[in-house]
Symmetry: C2
Subunit: 720 residues, 2 copies
């Protein structure tokens, strides 16, 4: 059987530390000392051409001189020495190498060249590399600390993968103070070979790991990353924090959709698609880490709040709304039970204010009752240090209760000095505790979001493509014809033809190249009509006065034809104008204007957008994104994540819009982008929908020769 | 001279504690003990009908028995005893009373009655009351702790006013641990007499107070509150946190504007109007408190970030964008100076990454250079605990620099265990330090926002009303006629007439009550025209098919007249239909659709809204609010706080819109709402604007008899 390719990284028995020394402040000295000090059970050999003895051990000049077969070589020598060291590793078939040294891609031209050279040597000798420019790895369960960090890690069930070594060190330093343990810690650095995908594959299967934290700066291999992330997130909670979220890559977008979507929006959609919870700040990462140290049964987002101070309850409730946490009403049984044990003027609603003189017993009685209420998916217990309260005794009552339930129970003791010992007690009993109501609510929301995203994930479409009635070949032909004429923006007529080939309902337009043709076209489609300028060079027709609505007679068609051409020429004198298109005008007072769009992200491939439509979509900026392929559940979820969704239900005098038709169009668009990798950008805008039907009114498609970016069907593949 | 009415609360010499006892856990026992233990310099007399001696002192049966003139009576006896005690206070002209006892308005019907009784007695005897149901007050500078809290307060320059006693206790408990001192602490409780306005008036003038924190649950007297807040915020930084921000009062709004504006939006606008910084979470309140313990010179929002880890720098930069903090580019001089002292591969941009091996000296050299860069309005110094860093030594270098500059310098040492002692060192030297990059950036943003809001405040209009050419009497007449006919929603024609009376440009409509009249009207205004249903009962004309655009011939007018009536009757069969209005259609391809609206808040009075217009404004939800009266500066600022503002500049092929005209209309609307207290709600929607001009196309005004809510001119009054 072929050995698992990360085996020697995660279960090494013999390690060589290249660059080991006695220097306290050198990377090599530090990592060697860390390995020795942490009681690693295997063998560790120092390798250094400069010394005979290091930290009391015999030193070998090269890796190939080590008297045993080396599983893992850890390299901490200057960057320019590493190519030779890799060659020396190859001599004795050492094929797992962790490079801590910096000075590569991040350090100018010379570093870049050196990094390419490493890759070349590694490929030649089948060497797998972790790093370079990383902090190393820690495997607490085998007592291996192969980092040059001062931080230590306790054993536990949380795994951490961090692209940055400094961030990794910071998280470890925080965690040890909070009594949070780890199953494995990987610092990836420049990740010239082993990346997030590889480690996620391992952690998904690792029995020591119950949940996973990722700190990401950039993704190289989106394909492997996404499939590994989906697999891992199916098995255990995964929390992601990404730095650089506001730094959008420069891009030239032609469509509305392209103009609205930033790189970070796509990353966000991809993470949701993978069933992962994304956090935005370190505070939130820390909160999530605290929550994930325990295995909870979470079935919903209903939180019940118990407090001895009304103000704290209101602050928590405020934040619940923002965090999409639901404060359910107390049912009659709960009300009656609480009435029996609480003083007369308790709040009688959620948040449950049990008043300033609440004793430990009153807390316990209240919590016992709340836990039996089925609408309490989780509990938040708060205490303000008023004169009559006993922070420590209440804490110990709460700990007793927390240990007997598998519902999430989070605590928040406000203040600092008087509540410190209570907080420490929570910590030592692994009951999640937070300093402010907002952060406590947010922490619960991460679990609720995880649950929600897992539901989404379980709804992912099966890889079998359904039997399609679409004219895929016809659509391809239209696109290829345009590309062979060196055009990347399809005309309105072409765009509508491609959509029609996929069964997407869209108004049909007739081209008229003279005023008389326009008149005949208008008579044949029937009044009222819409007339639009027809030019491959004019993208925003409305802005040049190139759109005229509600034209009701032949006479006006003649005048309008002239006017549209004049308007367009005034604004874009050099545009090539082919004529005017004539469409039947859809006049439905109950129509809502929507947008369905497509944008192809350079990393994650095609993305489907849904939102409010019209000429101002970039300003309205009401959109939700999903990665294809879609199914009904994902499509419906997409609708619900927009503001315009409210308008699709009964709205003023209008009946509920035909949501089924919208979903159907989304599924067809999904099929289209999966089948046509040529599509770079697409807008159906506006898509009109009323209670009867949905109908695209204008469309624009931007195409290009397909490049081997991520294929949407890859999102479904489970990495072996 | 008349004595200042809070004099006896803030500088008492003789205090009586009614309800003083030996019981450790009683409110009376605790407050008496707190006063004695804190070394208050004046006299303190225990008053209790039940005891002869309490805590070693002679007890008096009633306040009137105390052998000295009592300045301040503090009452901690059961609620039902208090009316008699107040009467007894009156006997010896004790007119300043602090009531700690709970059991009033917050405790059912009996409590409410009792509270009314207190008010009555207080009014009769000119007694001023702080409380009831409050924690008390602390004045560290005269060693007076008149609370029943376990928390203590150090002397300092920060004042705290908290509506909730429990929150007050929590903040104090946190502050003492962080070495943060106070000039004064007031817990207001039910605030039946003395409220935020009174205390703010005092603190604005108090020489011990450099900055003020407010915890607000609800505002009773918006008029006094706003004027006091404005005065205080002109003199010192004021930070506000408000609980219950998502709990909007139920309200029935007719207009788009009314539908969009929540009570919390108005509160937010009011605070900005007052030059105050609002925070949303306790974490942020604590951050703000840390920042405000020092007096900085702040002149802008430009932050320079120095870090020894790239990832931390990126996380900080991400949050800077969100917090409206600007990361300015390094100028040539700074770049050159840094090149001289930093290693080759430093980031050469802001955030300034001085690399993982940064020494204390390297930090110092970098900071010295950055402080001379004029674009650095503030500095954020970060450290990640990598192996080579010395958290404590770097901290002491940074403290040295912080003590020599009056620019804000905030620090963030990531991690916990290895950086704890450095954080403590920062604390003890009053250098603000935060645990994560996001919170550190946010803390600086509060200072930057304070500076920005102060600029807004300094632009407040002068109380002199400008000479108006508006036909105020005419507009009033129209409104009163409608009200006397028992109509609160003005017709389109009436609404437009009121706006025209104030010189606000709006399309004029002609009423037609037959198809033939419609035809004549259309011929006289000129084609194309817009036809709209004319009915006092139909508010959303578009939704009933009651709006037809771009009608280009007499023939179509005739058909459309019939169709509009049919449409409307189909949807609202019982609506009283008066006919159809005819307007000239404005066809300007470069028009942007905007909204200007008015809504009268029950607490804060009229509010002016500006945003994107159209039929979907509630969905687009792009709005900014300001309290009238406006001036040019405030009006321009209002525009800039919307997303649609981007579209007013050059947008696709369009020239910059006529912003001057929009501002002019906003000023006229401001005048209108100041002059016409009848106006409850108003929409001008859409307001069309292109490069030439702005023109309202539709308008709706809702009126009512004026009630004595806040007058907009009060916002300018400075409370004496």
């Amino acid at each position: 059987m072929h050995e698992y390719y990360l085996e020697k990284f995660v279960r090494p028995k013999v390690i060589a530390v290249v660059g080991a020394s006695d220097k306290e402040l050198s990377v090599g000295g530090k990592v060697f000392r860390n390995i020795l000090d942490n009681g690693f059970g295997g063998k560790v050999y120092p390798v250094n051409i400069k010394y005979k003895v290091v930290q009391g051990q015999t030193v070998y000049p090269t890796v190939s001189d080590v008297p045993e077969k080396v599983d893992l070589a850890i390299i901490a020598t200057p960057a320019n020495t590493i190519p030779d060291i890799l060659e020396s590793c190859a001599l004795t078939q050492v094929q797992s190498v962790l490079i801590l040294t910096a000075g590569f891609n991040e350090s100018g031209e010379d570093g870049k060249k050196l990094e390419l050279k490493l890759k070349e040597i590694a490929r030649k000798h089948h060497i797998r590399i972790m790093g370079p420019n990383c902090l190393g790895l820690i495997l607490p369960h085998i007592q291996l600390n192969a980092t040059f960090s001062n931080a230590q890690a306790l054993p536990g069930q949380l795994a951490l993968i961090s692209q940055s070594g400094a961030i990794c060190a910071s998280i470890l330093d925080w965690a040890i103070d909070k009594n949070i343990g780890f199953s494995a810690i990987f610092s990836l650095g420049n990740a010239i070979d082993i990346g997030f995908g590889d480690i996620l594959d391992y952690l998904a299967q690792d029995p020591h790991t119950a949940s996973i934290l990722l700190y990401i700066e950039s993704i190289h291999d989106a394909r492997h990353f996404m499939s590994a992330l989906r697999t891992a997130a199916k098995l255990k909670p995964v929390i992601v924090i990404k730095a650089g979220r506001d730094q959008l890559g420069a891009k030239a977008a032609v469509s509305h959709t392209g103009g609205m979507i930033g790189a970070d929006d796509v990353f966000d959609a991809a993470l949701r698609h993978a069933g992962v919870v994304r956090v935005q700040t370190f505070e939130q990462l820390f909160s999530a880490a605290k929550m994930l140290t325990k295995k909870y049964t979470i079935v919903g987002n209903g939180l019940m709040i118990v407090t001895n101070g009304g103000g704290a309850g209101v602050m928590a409730a405020d934040h619940a709304i923002e965090s999409k946490v639901s404060l359910k009403d107390l049912n009659q049984k709960t009300l009656a039970a609480l009435d029996k044990v609480l003083p007369k003027y308790w709040s009688r609603q959620n948040p449950i204010d049990i008043l300033g003189d609440a004793t430990p017993v009153r807390y316990k009685q209240t919590l016992d009752i709340c836990l039996t209420d089925p609408s309490a998916d989780g509990l938040l217990v708060m205490l303000t240090p008023v004169a009559m309260s006993d922070p420590l005794k209440v804490a110990s009552e709460v700990i007793g209760i927390a240990q007997q339930t598998n519902k999430p129970l989070v605590t928040c003791w406000l203040g600092e000095k008087q509540v410190k010992s209570a907080r420490d007690l929570f910590l030592s009993h692994q009951v999640p505790t937070f300093n402010t109501p907002e952060i406590a609510v947010e922490a619960f929301s991460f679990l609720a979001t995880y649950h929600h995203n897992q539901q989404l994930l379980s709804q992912a479409p099966s890889p079998q493509r359904h039997h399609s009635t679409s004219d895929i070949a016809g659509a391809k032909k239209i696109i290829e014809t345009a590309l062979s004429a060196d055009r990347k923006i399809l005309t309105t007529i072409e765009s509508k033809a491609v959509l029609t080939a996929f069964g997407i309902p869209i108004t049909q337009a007739i081209i008229a190249t003279t005023a008389e043709e326009a008149m005949i076209a208008a008579e044949s489609v029937g009044f009222p009509v819409v007339m639009k300028i027809y030019s491959p060079d004019i993208t925003h027709k409305q802005d040049v006065g190139g759109v005229q609505l509600n034209i009701t007679s032949a006479e006006v068609v003649l005048a309008t034809y002239k006017k549209i051409l004049e308007n367009a020429k005034a604004v874009q004198p050099h545009a090539k104008i082919l004529g005017v298109t004539i469409e039947k005008m859809r006049i439905e007072p109950h129509d809502r204007e929507l947008l369905i769009g497509v944008f192809r992200d350079p990393i994650f491939g095609p993305v489907i957008a849904f939102g409010a439509g019209g000429t101002l979509v970039e300003i309205i900026n009401d959109k939700a994104l999903a990665l294809p392929p879609l199914n009904r559940f994902i499509a419906e979820n997409l609708l619900k994540h927009t503001r315009v969704y409210k308008m699709l239900g009964e709205f003023r005098h209008m009946h509920q819009a035909n949501i089924e038709d919208i979903i159907d169009i989304l599924l067809k668009v999904s099929e289209m982008v999966c089948e046509l990798p040529h599509i770079r950008e697409m807008d159906i805008n506006p898509l009109m929908v009323n209670e009867q039907s949905a109908m695209g009114v204008d469309a624009r498609i931007v195409v290009d020769f397909p490049n081997p970016s991520l294929n949407p069907y890859d999102h479904m593949a489970i990495h072996p």
